[in-house]
Symmetry: D2
Subunit: 429 residues, 4 copies
C-alpha cells in the first residue's frame, strides 16, 4: 500500500476534543456525524474523530482537579488493548469495540477516526497482561521512564524489545477490524521522548500490515522541521503547532509556522495547523463558550489553512452550528483550494502583513491571499515583484469571502480589516 494514496487531499472532518474534552459519548458522536452527513458532506467534510480517553472510566468526572485522572481504571482487552468505555459507548458492549459506531458513521457515507496515545497502558504494564501474537507481556515492552509529560495513561514502548512491533501490529489489526479510517496518535509528533521516532515507524509498519488504508495523524506539535522527511515517509499529517485555540495570540504565530513548512505540503503529506476552534467550544473543559475569534479572525484562519492546504478538523459542536459559522465552513470556492491547488508559497511576511499565492491545478486561475496582522483596518500593499516572480499576474479577480470582483491590474494595495484577510481568485491572462 502507498500511504500517500490514503489521503490524496487534506483530510476534512470533525473532532470531539474542542467541545467535549475527554467526556464525549456515543450519542454525541452520532449527533455530530448526522449533522455532518446532512449539511457538510457535500463540501468535502467526511471524517468523524473521537478524541482522547474514550477508554477511561469516569473521564471528565474530576475536571476541577485533573484533565486526566491518574492511576485510574480503563477498559482493556486481554491483550493490553484499550477498549471504548461502555459507560459512554454502550454499543461497545460484548467486546465489539468501536465496530458498531464505525459502521454507523460509514452508513452515513462518512469515515471514522480515533485518537490514541503513544505506548501501552500503564495498567497493562503493572498487570503484566498479554500481547497478541507474542509470548511477551506488557511489562516487558513498557519503559518505566518513558512517559508522556501531560497524560498519565501510558508507558512508551522500547523499540528494541521483543513484542514491541507485535503490540502496535495488534492495535492496527484491531482498528482495521473495527473499521477505523483515521488514527490520531498523540505524544509522538514532537518526539519529546527518544523512542517516539521509532514508534512512528512502528505505527506506520503496523498500518501497512493491517491491510486497511488508515490515515496516520501525529500530535502534538510543533513537529521538528529537521525531521520533515521522516514524517513524510511515515505519516499523512503532523501537527506543526502545539494545541491551537480561539485566541489571536495563537493564530498570529501560525504565519511563521506555515512559512517554515510551505515546501513540505504534497499529496499524502500534510503539515497540520490543528483544529478549527469555531462555533460552540469548551463544554468538557467547564468553559462552554462561543469561539473567542472575531469573524475576521476566523476568515484569516480559514484562508491560511486553505491556501497552505492544512487538514481541517472542526472543533465546534456541529448540532449547535450557527448560520454564519456554517457559511464559513461551506464556502466552496475557498475549500476548493484544499482539493485543487498546489505549490502555495509565501510572497512576503513582516510584523504587519502577510501575502501568499498559489495556483489552481485544474482551472486557469491563481490565488492571492492578503492578511492584515494589525489591530486596525489597513491598506495592505501587494508585493507584485514577488508575486510575478512566483508566476502570478494581476488581472480580473474575485474576492472569495465577499464575492466582490475587481481588476487587480494597477492596484498596489487593498484594504483589509483588522486581523482579517482577503482571498483573491485571479483569472490567468
Amino acid at each position: 500500500m502507498n500511504k500517500n494514496t490514503f489521503a490524496v487531499t487534506p483530510p476534512m472532518g470533525w473532532n470531539s476534543y474542542d467541545y467535549y474534552d475527554t467526556s464525549v459519548n456515543e450519542e454525541q458522536v452520532k449527533a455530530n456525524a448526522d449533522y455532518m452527513a446532512k449539511y457538510l458532506k457535500p463540501y468535502g467534510w467526511e471524517y468523524v474523530v473521537v478524541d482522547i480517553e474514550w477508554y477511561s472510566m469516569d473521564a471528565g468526572s474530576q475536571r476541577d482537579r485533573y484533565q486526566y485522572i491518574p492511576f485510574w481504571d480503563v477498559a482493556m482487552d486481554e491483550y493490553s488493548r484499550l477498549q471504548p468505555c461502555e459507560q459512554r459507548f454502550p454499543s461497545a458492549a460484548g467486546g465489539k469495540g468501536f465496530a458498531p459506531l464505525a459502521e454507523y458513521v460509514h452508513n452515513l457515507g462518512l469515515k471514522f477516526g480515533i485518537h490514541i496515545m503513544r505506548g501501552i497502558p500503564r495498567n497493562a504494564a503493572h498487570a503484566h497482561t498479554k500481547i497478541l501474537h507474542s509470548t511477551h507481556t506488557a511489562n516487558e515492552i513498557a519503559q518505566p521512564n518513558n512517559i508522556c509529560d501531560w497524560n498519565p495513561d501510558m508507558y512508551g514502548i522500547d523499540p528494541k524489545a521483543e513484542g514491541a512491533q507485535e503490540y502496535y501490529d495488534s492495535l492496527m489489526e484491531l482498528y482495521a477490524q473495527w473499521g477505523v479510517d483515521f488514527v490520531k496518535c498523540d505524544d509522538i509528533c514532537r518526539m519529546d521522548m527518544p523512542t517516539a521516532k521509532e514508534e512512528i515507524r512502528m505505527l506506520s509498519e503496523a498500518i501497512q500490515k493491517c491491510g486497511r488504508e488508515i490515515v496516520l495523524s501525529l500530535s502534538p506539535g510543533p513537529a521538528k522541521i529537521e525531521e520533515a522527511w521522516y514524517y513524510e515517509t511515515h505519516a499523512n499529517m503532523w501537527r506543526i503547532t502545539d494545541d491551537f485555540w480561539d485566541d489571536w495570540r495563537l493564530l498570529l504565530p501560525m504565519f511563521a509556522r506555515c512559512e517554515l513548512w510551505q515546501s513540505h505540503v504534497k499529496s499524502g503529506c500534510y503539515p497540520d495547523c490543528d483544529m478549527l476552534p469555531v462555533g460552540k467550544l469548551g463544554k468538557g473543559f467547564a468553559d462552554e463558550r462561543t469561539t473567542g475569534f472575531t469573524k475576521e479572525e476566523q476568515i484569516t484562519m480559514m484562508t491560511l489553512w486553505s491556501i497552505f492546504r492544512s487538514p481541517m478538523m472542526i472543533g465546534a459542536d456541529l448540532p449547535q452550528l450557527d448560520d454564519w459559522t456554517k457559511s464559513l465552513l461551506t464556502n466552496e470556492e475557498v475549500l476548493r483550494l484544499l482539493k485543487y491547488s498546489e505549490g502555495a508559497r509565501q510572497m512576503m511576511r513582516n510584523d504587519k502583513q502577510v501575502v501568499w499565492c498559489t495556483r489552481d491545478t485544474q482551472d486557469p486561475v491563481d490565488y492571492i491571499a492578503v492578511f492584515n496582522l494589525q489591530d486596525t483596518e489597513e491598506t495592505i500593499s501587494l508585493p507584485w515583484q514577488q508575486i510575478e516572480q512566483y508566476g502570478v499576474h494581476a488581472g480580473e479577480a474575485k474576492e472569495l469571502w465577499t464575492g466582490e470582483t475587481t481588476d487587480l491590474k494597477g492596484q498596489d494595495a487593498v484594504n483589509v480589516a483588522a486581523h482579517g484577510a482577503k482571498l483573491y481568485r485571479v483569472t490567468r491572462a
Copy 2:
C-alpha cells in the same frame, strides 16, 4: 532538634551498594557490621548502611537485563510504606521491618542506615493504598509524570497535595520505630524533577517531627552549587558527584568539585564525595573485582576526602578486606582530619597538580596535601606564597602515609608518585 548536631563530624561507615548492588541480604549486612565492630570502629567507622531496593522482590535476579526490575512486586505495609523483603531479610517477618537488624547493629556499638528513593511506590499509587494519619490515598499525592530517570520504583510526590507531608512523616515515624540513624534519600539531590526541592524540605520536617536524630544524606550528585544554602539548611550531607567508581577518570574531576564546594563544609553540613570504591567490589553487578585504583590513587582519594572532610562510606565487602586496604582505612593520623580540622582551602590547582591546606582545631599543627595528577612521578612545586597567605608556614613536617619526617623550610618542591599524594602534618612554629 538542631540537625547540625546529628553529625558534628563527617559520617564514616560502610554501604552495601558497591559490592552487593540491589542484592544484599541480612546475613551479609551482619557480617559487614561484625567486621566493622571488630576492626574499624576504633578508628571512627560506625554507620552500616543498607542501600537500594531492600524492599524489592527478586532484586538482582534479572541483572542481565535490568538493574531494577520494572513493574515488579515490592514489600509494602498497608500505609504505602516499603518494608524489607523477607526473602532477603528474614528478621523482618511479622511486620518487624528493620527493627531487629537495627538492634543487632546497635548492639555492636554501631549505627544503622538505610537507602530510600524519593516519592511513594508506583504500586501504591496504582493500588490506591492508604496514608497513615491521613484520609487521602497514595494515588492522590503521587504525580504520574514525576519519576526517576533511572529507577522505576516510585512516583514523586506533589508537595501541594493534602497527605503529602503526612506520608513523609509516616516514613520517618516508622524509621524512628525501627531505630534507623541514617537515611540516604536518592533521586533528590540533583533536583532533576521540580518537586525534589520541596521534597527535601518535607523530609527534613519529618525528621524534626519524628523525635529521632536521623542523619539525612542526599543523592545523587552533582548537587547544585546555587542551592548550597538550601542543602545546608535541610540536610547533613549531599553528593557533589554522580556515582563514583574505581576509575582515575572519575577521581580526577573530584578536584574541581572539591574546589567548588570548599567553602561549604561545616559541622552538620557536608558536601559528599561518595563512597570509597576500595577492596572487593562489584559482585552484585556481575563484575566482581578488586578495586581498579592503584595504591597511589587510593592514597590520593583518602587524602582528598580527608582534608576536604567528605563523609566516608566504604564500598568494599569488609570481611574480604586485605591488609593493605585495611591499613589505608585505619591511618589514625589521616582520619584525624575528619574530626579535628577546619577551614580547608585549595591553594592551587592546574592540570598537573593540586595543593590544599587545613588547620588542626586542637593541636598546634597544620596540614598540607600535595597531589600529582600526572601519569608519571613528578616533582611538585609548593606554592608557598598562597600557603603563607592562608596562614600556614614551613617547618618540621611528617608525611602521614609514609611516616617520614622532613623540614619543609626552604623546600620548594616535593616528589610525588604518578596519581599520588603526600599529606604533611606541619608543626606550628
Copy 3:
C-alpha cells in the same frame, strides 16, 4: 529584475580557495580560467571565482601564525570600498579594480565572481572614510561589537544607520562596473550576528539597484532551515554546511543535510553543498596534496551533488588536473542532472545506505542513486516500495559512472563499493 533568472540552473565553476587560500594572484586566476575555457566549458563549467582577501596586503605571508593577518593594511578606495591588492593583481593599478581581469574572463566566454566579507573594513571605520552617495562616514555605520569570529577584516553594519544601504549599494555599483557576475558573501549565511539577516536583504536590494544580474551566494553554513524562505527570497545559493574538505567524516553528514534541504531546491534557489575538494589542494594552507578522497568517495560526492542539484565549484588547481579527475568532472550524463532534472527526493537513509530518486525534465528517463556508507563493499537493497511511491519504476537502466546497462526489474539489491555510489538512469516504461 527577477533574481531567480540569474541562475536558472545550479552555478558551476572554479573557486580559488581550496588550493590558494588567501594568496591567489592574477596570473593564477588566468591560468585556471584558460584551462576552464579550453577543457571544461563545454560541460557547463563557467564561473571563475576569486576567493577571500584579494584586497589584503601580504596575504598569506604569516601563514604559520595567522590565516588572516589582523590589523593590517588593505587596498581601499576613498569610499571605504576594498580594491584588489596590486601586489597580486597588477591589472588593478590605476583604480581599475577587477575590471581588466573580469574582461579577460569574459573574453574566454566565462563568468567572473568574487568573494566578499559581510560589513565594512575595520580600517575604514577607524579612519572615518567616506561612503559614496552619502554624507555619512564609515564609523557611523560600522558596529564595534559586530564582528566575524574567524576573520578580522570587517565590522558588521548597523541596518538602521543612515548610510548603511548606501554602502552596500556602492559596492554593487562598483562590482557592476567591474563586470562581476557572482558575489559570494561570507560571514553571513549562518546569521551568527543579529544583523546578518538584514544585511542579506541589503545585499539583495543593492543587486536589484545595480542593474547587473549578479548571482548572490551566501556563506558559511550550515544555513538555518527555519530561514529557508528568507534565503529563497533574497539569494541564489546558501551553504548548508560549514567548510567542506576532502575527508569522509565531512562527506558522511552531507546526506543528512541534503535530506533536510531536499524540498528547497528550485530554479534560482540552491542549497549549496560547498566546493569539490578534488585534484590538487592546499598549497596556500601549506598543506599541498592530492585530494584525500578515494575515487569512490569522489563518485559519491559528485552523485549526491548532482542528484540534489547543488551548485558545483571545483577546488582543484585546474592546470594540474589529472585525467581521472577530469573525467569525473566531465561526465555529461551525470552533469545533465544539474540542468535537466527536478524534484529529487531521498527514498531512504540509515547508517548504512542512502537512496535518492529524481526525474528528467526533458527525456523519458528517471534516476536512482544508491550510496553505500559502509567501509566495505556491500549489497545495497533497493527500497522499491518507496521508489514506486515516488513514481519511478524498475526497468532498463544504465549506470552512469561505469556505463554498464542492466534491467533493474526484479533486482532487489545492487553491489556498491565501500563509500561508493551507483547512479542509474532508468528508462520509463
Copy 4:
C-alpha cells in the same frame, strides 16, 4: 605581598559612574573628594574612584546616540597605555597622568582609584604601537575577535602571546607611579570572553610585580559561582550582579545573590553588590534625578550590604548630598558590621521575607537583620530555630536604624515596613 592584606575589610568609597557616566572631570572628582574628606571619612569612607573612559576624547558628547563613541580618539602614551584626557583632566598635561590628582586625594587622607577596561586599546592594535619592556607591538597581543560586547575601546589580549604579560605589567607599573590604590577592571568578571580568566591572573601577577598594594576589583557581574576560588585567589572584590540601579526590581534579586555567595566573604575577598545608587544620580546619562528608591528600600540595601559585608561605593554626587542620605551613610553602628562582623549567614528566605544573622568579632553582641519583601507593611516571623542553630539567642536588642530598644525574648515576629528592614544588635547573654 599578600593581596588579602590590601583590604582587610570591605572597601568603602565613592565612584563617579552613577552620576557622571563617562563625563566626569577633575574638578568634579576633587569636589567629591573634598566632601568625603570633610564629612564621610570619619565613618570609614576613603576611596575616590574615577570610572569609565577618563581617556576618551569627547566622552559623553554624543550621549543621544552612544554611551561610548566608537572608533574615536583616546589619550594614549607611546607604550599603548591610556592616559587621562586633558580636556577633562588638565593636571594630566605633560605626561603626568593621574599622579597630580592622586596626590590631591592622598593629601586629603583618602585613597585614589581608577576604572579600566580589560585589554589593549583598539587604536593601539591598529596603529601597531609599542609595549614597554617588550619587542612586541600592540597588534601582536590584541585578538581581533576578543571584544567587549558593550564598549568599543579595547581588544582582549591573547594570554599566550609574547608581550601580553609585559603589557599588563606596564599598566600596573604606571598606575603605581601615579599612586593608584584601587583598580576596577571591567569586562572581565563575568568571563564573557574565554581569555578573561587568564587576564585576571595576568592583572594579579602585574600587581604583585608593581610593588604597590593596589586593590583589584572585577566587573561586571554576575560573577560565576563555580569560579569562586579563582576570584578569591586573584582579586579583592568581584561583582555578583550586573549593573545595579535604583529600582526595587534590581534590589529584590540581590537577596538570592547574597544567599549564593554568603560562604565566600572573608578578609581580602569580597563578593561585591555594586554601587549604592542613593542621592543625586544620572546627570551624565541625561537622566538627572534623586534616587528612585524609597527610604525604606535604601535602609534595606544598606542593611543587606552591611551584614553581607559587601564593598560600598556611593553613587551619589556627594556635594549635593541631602541630610537624610548623609545620615543613612554615616550610621556608625550599622557600618561597624563591615569592620567588625564575621560569618554572616542567611537564616531563611522566601518570596515574602528574608532573615540574616551575624556575629560581632570584638563586642559580645550579635546581629539579626529582618527584611520585608512585600509591598505592604507586614509582621515578619523570626525563625528562632534556625537562628539558635546558628548560635544567636534572643535577648536585649537595639534596632540600629531607629535606635529603639526591645527584648526579643519571646518575640515571634516584628513589624517591618513595605520593602523595609530592621537590623537588631542583640546583646549576648
